[in-house]
């Protein structure tokens, strides 16, 4: 394994991210902050939502930020680089097995997802305070969850980015991303769906559900949530599945 080439590619991605830092900042944080402001501040402040909603909302916002940053950070560059210009070719010709080029993209995506998750929490807390009740009782569990969530988002980005074409990006959002957000138990706990039993079973195929519930279980355990162990197992399953699919698609796209 050629770690020199691997880290050089990681350095390249970091360099590009630094160059686009302002754009990335707004892309990552503007939407969650507006959401936090409207639902956590306006709706709670005007009495339409109970004050406890602030604490319930925060892990969900963190999950959404992490998952979509990771997907976006991996999928969008891949879609662009595999297009007509074949920008990725110089890395495919680097002296390293091409699967490591894909894994490097996943690692870069994971780092961005982790940064997004860890920055959105204090930002949202600043908007929402006072009245946010965070209790991290199991730091190891929390770290495991955020690692698995970031891996799931980056592997998902790899699978999507190597499957979709540029002309399908709009479709990807309306068909995959939007339903994932709304049925991802980010704005409400999974247990809130008990009055819709069929829907409650159906949303279990949505990996965002486990990200939201896992973060809820480790940050605000006072609210109902899925068992942490189950969340860890399912997230690990999604990580492996999406990585396998992503590597296969990457191989198909990169070698003809």
């Amino acid at each position: 394994m050629n770690w020199t080439a691997f880290f050089a590619m990681l350095a390249r991605d970091a360099h590009v991210a630094r160059r686009n830092a302002i754009q990335l900042f707004f892309q990552t944080f503007l939407q969650p902050l507006l959401f936090v402001f409207v639902f956590g501040k306006v709706m709670v402040g005007s009495g339409y939502m109970p004050p406890a909603y602030k604490s319930l909302l925060l892990p969900g916002i963190m999950a959404i930020s992490m998952v979509f940053t990771g997907i976006w950070a991996v999928a969008m560059p891949l879609i662009a680089e595999f297009q007509w210009t074949r920008e990725i070719e110089d890395r495919l010709l680097a002296p390293i097995d091409i699967h490591w080029v894909a894994i490097e993209k996943v690692v870069a995506g994971m780092i961005q997802a982790l940064v997004a998750g860890l920055v959105v929490v204090p930002l949202a807390w600043l908007v929402l305070r006072p009245g946010v009740d965070l209790h991290v009782q199991h730091p190891v569990g929390f770290i495991a969850i955020i690692l698995l969530v970031s891996a799931f988002s980056a592997c998902g980005g790899l699978a999507l980015g190597c499957t979709m074409n540029q002309q399908h990006v709009g479709l990807m959002f309306s068909l995959v991303i939007t339903p994932m957000i709304f049925f991802g138990c980010a704005y409400y706990p999974w247990s809130a769906l008990k009055t819709f039993p069929i829907l409650q079973k159906l949303v279990l195929i949505n990996p965002l559900v486990y990200a939201s519930e896992g973060l809820r279980g480790t940050l605000v355990p006072q609210f109902p949530h899925l068992p942490i162990l189950a969340v860890l197992v399912v997230l690990l399953f999604f990580d492996c599945l999406l990585l396998a699919v992503g590597l296969r698609q990457f191989d198909k796209k990169s070698v003809s």
Partner: protein, 337 residues
Amino acid sequence: MAVGLRTQDLRKIYNSPPPAAAGGIVHRADAKGSKQAKTEIKALDGVSLEIQPGEIFGLLGPNGAGKSTTVGVLTTRVRPTSGQAWVGDHDVWKEQAAVKYLIGVVPQRPNLDFSLTAREILLFHGAYFGLGYKVSHERVEQLLEKFKLTDRADQMTRGFSGGMMQRLSIARAMMHDPKVLFLDEPSAGLDPQTRILLWEIIRDFNRSGKTVLLTTHYMEEADALCNRLAIVDHGRVIAQGSPEELKRSIPGGYLLRLRFANSNATLFDRLRTLSGVREVQSADGTGANLYADRGGSLIAEIANLAASNGAELSDVHISEPSLENLFLHHTGRSLRD
């Protein structure tokens, strides 16, 4: 030490249109028949080549002949359906990373990393190959200078002209000091000055004992640069040798492309009897391609012969021994058809 290349009976069949990696347009196999045959595109049909260490070897052929696919296989970018390829002693498909150290690739269309500046493209390319900081920075300056890119070095490459992108692609391919340089249609779309600069650079690179494989459909380029050539058409090698050897293999050497008003079959038979004429092929019904060992001095005799057969010579084009003629002789088609 110089490194050679070898391929053995390479075949490549695409079941869907080839992605951009292969480049070019490939010959579509018989489109009629079963559903399977419709999507089957035979890009390579048994290509065996042996390229000596330190030579400039050319693959000459029209668009879609299989040149880019051959380069793709040798550079790990196209997986052959069958057959083998070696760079030096390394099997391209078993030792990809080792092969990638040895080769530099200039693609048909520039595939520069648009998120980086020209200088960064070279620096990161060096980093992928593990070049140290000092070596890398020195080499970047040399290459930028050599390729006349110094004043644009810190600009993003998106706004570069085609020629500049091409030059930067070549600089990038040379950055890690490869043993073999692949250039896929290097002069396509270049202005004449840049083309001459490019030829100089290729010769210069070769003088240091390095191997060059280039593809082209410019006969002059192949003639001017290559030690040896393979002429490729429909995924097969149809002729191989030095430009001189190949040109000598054209019957007579001279090609006279003739057009007649009111031509007839007896005229063609009688053209064959003229002294110095080696071969007459009819072309498009009203014309003939005549291979002979002399050129202009035949015209008067041809015109007389035509007149005495009730035909009239309406157009003549004489070409001296060239690869263009060779290609025409082997395939019945012009290189640019």
